[in-house]
Symmetry: C2
Subunit: 113 residues, 2 copies
């Protein structure tokens, strides 16, 4: 699996507009196991996106999907900059949506795949 | 919802042992919507835990569960310290396991709850 933990900084006063845009645009993305948008409780302009994908290839491919490209174009003027960005290898846990049929159901909890 | 994004630093050479311990101990935790354990790709001793709970009360209550307390006791000698810790308010997305019946199914994708 391939994971990203990213902090985004919205333009002043634009965080809620950016959050709504990101949430409304979430649709089917092949290989996406988790994609959560959250407010940063310590910074009124910041939000976090945590993503888990089958692999980096599926993440990179998602960026070419027309709805994703449209969201990026709409989001750009609301974004002031980027903060922390961490690349991870998720190993398992709770709340991992199954990918495109690569893995058996037991892979969604407590595995070391 | 209540979210935590936490970096842990393992004692030198103990990251895999810590990861295995954390993954094996994952069981039913009331109010837990997502709990993912991942390697940090930029730091050989670091790992990340990303958690999403119905609310802070359910998170705090989980720390009193006997299996969780046992895991904490076993993990402590493997942990060198703690890095980034972010408290978030997750708003929606993909891969949010339903909580304890508080929410309709559509709350798992693209909501602004």
């Amino acid at each position: 699996m391939y994971g990203l933990i990213s902090q985004l900084k919205a333009q002043a006063g634009q965080r809620e507009a950016l959050l709504v845009l990101l949430l409304k645009s979430l649709g089917a993305m092949p290989g996406c196991r988790s994609y959560v948008v959250a407010r940063d409780e310590a910074d009124a302009d910041a939000l976090w996106i945590t993503e888990i994908w089958d692999d980096q290839v599926s993440h990179d491919a998602s960026l070419t999907l027309p709805p994703v490209q449209e969201t990026i174009a709409r989001a750009r003027p609301l974004i002031a900059g980027f903060g922390t960005r961490v690349v991870t290898t998720p190993l398992g846990g709770i709340g991992l949506t199954l990918g495109e049929g690569h893995d058996p159901p037991h892979a969604t909890r407590g595995t070391t795949r």
